[in-house]
């Protein structure tokens, strides 16, 4: 509904923003105040996403699972690798994680434009919308992790203390995805066709990220291209943890953390300095 209100009997003084940047302390507090909203929206959107389908939420796992089967089949045909549980599990490990990336980035790209009525009517930090989308993508990713765990054990991949590295890597992945998602979220408000080519861009991006292959599979002369990709390090580390059963290399972790921080800072800066325009561009 077209409802808007502020949170209490405060005095608000609205002044021109310097270079589009709102007072950061106040913005951060307002954003924290909207966390219940972001969480409620994430849960509601997740429920509504497959409301009209017979299998409902099961699709959030079935989609990457079926795609994983297709990729495993293609790999067995073109690379000549045997189509076995190990190949399928390797594909699923990378694919489930990239589905998380895809969900955060493509969801962020559309969430602001889809919330036009709320943006036109209510005053709230717009970043609460992509945060809500990040929460929804995480809620979608968690069940697929459980499904992956079954394949992981069945295929005989190692499990140990080093496996716990998967959790910080998921956080690093989430931060990187969120930062990149904010850039696409802003771009879509200004250029609506970004949403049209984004699925193709994400598909190409997946082929340039160690999702379906390992870094060792790539010839040295192409390694530099892969390393320019902000998602490469975290996915390379992800593969080391899941399939080699070891602590990820320090180089990949450091590189992944730097990519995450740069993506986050750049994404937040672009988003909040441009969000003033959202109400007149939507």
């Amino acid at each position: 509904m077209s409802l808007g209100a502020d949170s209490g009997a405060k005095v608000h003084v609205y002044k021109p923003l310097r270079r589009g940047m709102p007072p950061l302390g106040q913005y951060a507090r307002d954003t924290m105040d909207r966390m219940p909203f972001a969480w409620a929206k994430a849960k509601s959107d997740l429920r509504a996403q497959h409301l009209d389908t017979a299998l409902g939420q099961l699709w959030t796992v079935l989609n990457p699972l079926l795609l994983g089967l297709v990729y495993a089949l293609l790999i067995s045909i073109f690379i000549g690798r045997e189509l076995d549980l190990v190949t399928l599990t390797r594909v699923l490990g990378g694919l489930f994680a990239f589905y998380f990336t895809r969900g955060v980035i493509s969801g962020a790209a559309s969430v602001v434009v889809r919330s036009g009525a709320a943006i036109m009517n209510s005053s709230f930090p717009r970043i609460a919308l992509p945060i809500s989308n990040l929460m929804m993508a995480t809620l979608t990713f968690l069940p697929s992790l459980a499904v992956y765990a079954i394949f992981h054990l069945a295929a005989g991949f190692p499990v140990g203390w080093s496996t716990l590295w998967a959790f910080p890597l998921i956080i690093i992945m989430g931060v990187t995805n969120f930062g990149i998602g904010l850039l696409f979220s802003t771009a879509t408000v200004f250029f609506r066709d970004v949403a049209s080519f984004l699925p193709y861009l994400l598909r190409i991006w997946m082929y340039l990220t160690p999702v379906l292959f390992r870094m060792d599979d790539i010839p040295d002369r192409y390694q530099a291209i892969l390393r320019a990709n902000p998602l490469t390090a975290v996915f390379a580390a992800w593969g080391e943890v899941l399939f080699d059963g070891r602590v990820p290399s320090g180089e990949f972790v450091a590189w992944a953390v730097i990519s995450a921080l740069v993506s986050l800072l750049l994404g937040v800066w672009v988003f909040i300095t441009k969000e003033r325009s959202f109400a007149v561009r939507i």
């Binding site: 077209s2 409802l3 949170s7 003084v13 002044k15 913005y27």
Partner: protein, 267 residues
């Protein structure tokens, strides 16, 4: 958001809304559809893809507590932009807007956050988005549903609502969320004659409770009946401010003289 919050002083005698030298400008697309393709084509032709819109210039006024300020003017005068600036949705380019108290807005009949969700879920999301607690929202929900007369539709997806139901529900939500300052854009046109009467009575009730209302309307009779004072905007500037009957008379004369035909873009 976009504001500096400070502890409330003794605010009883201060106006609910103070606007001082407000200007709002922004860049809007002139490239038809806002697409990368159109932008690149225009760049190739060395044409600008955006232009600066000066929506409001040099606006100053006050809205005392317990009053209703009517805002009138032709399409594109800047009325909706003014309400959005007061609500904190559009920050000023120049000047300041001081708002004392909780604002509730009814600016356009939107469809909430997700048309797949029920009215109840969308109201909850809308309330949480603007900082209300779940308890505050749920405490008002039954009254909201009763006032809007939408009955069992409250638990149905909003995609099945008629435009009249949207309008009634949106108005009901806005007036029942304990507003101290209510910003309303043409909402009285929602619903049938009986609902308009009910809505008008509810607004009178809010004024009697010392709450401040800003009402944008093209209905001059609504303004003269409800407003305690009136602001007339034209092309983003103040043309008149004061007694509703006098301002409406001046505005009507202006319109009859044909000036309002030269409207600006719809804002």
């Amino acid at each position: 958001m976009l504001s500096e919050s400070k502890p409330s002083p003794a605010v009883e005698d201060l106006p609910a809304v103070e606007v001082d030298g407000l200007a709002v400008s922004y860049r809007a697309s002139v490239a038809g559809k806002q697409t990368l393709k159109n932008t690149l084509v225009r760049m190739g032709r060395r044409q600008k893809s955006t232009q600066l819109i000066q929506a409001l210039r040099g606006i100053s006024f006050e809205v005392p507590k317990g009053s209703l300020m009517g805002v009138i003017g032709a399409n594109g005068a800047g009325k909706s932009t003014l309400l959005r600036a007061v609500a904190g949705i559009l920050p000023p380019s120049e000047g300041t807007v001081t708002v004392r108290g909780r604002t509730t807005t009814l600016l356009a009949t939107g469809v909430g956050f997700n048309p797949q969700l029920t009215g109840r879920e969308n109201i909850t999301l809308g309330g949480l988005a603007i900082g209300l607690t779940r308890a505050q929202i749920e405490g008002q929900l039954e009254e909201v549903v009763e006032f809007a007369s939408i009955g069992r539709f409250i638990d149905m997806p909003t995609k099945v609502y008629s435009s009249g139901m949207f309008g009634r529900l949106a108005f009901s939500v806005a007036v029942h969320m304990s507003p101290e300052i209510l910003l309303v854009d043409e909402a009285l046109s929602a619903g049938d004659a009986a609902f308009r009467e009910k809505a008008s009575a509810k607004m009178q009730e809010l004024i009697s409770q010392a709450q401040a209302i800003m009402l944008v309307s093209h209905g001059m009779s609504t303004i003269t009946e409800l407003a305690t004072h009136t602001l007339w905007l034209h092309k983003g500037r103040v043309m008149g401010y004061g007694d509703p009957a006098e301002v409406v008379q001046e505005y009507t004369k202006f319109v009859k003289a044909g000036h309002a035909a030269a409207v600006w873009e719809e804002i």
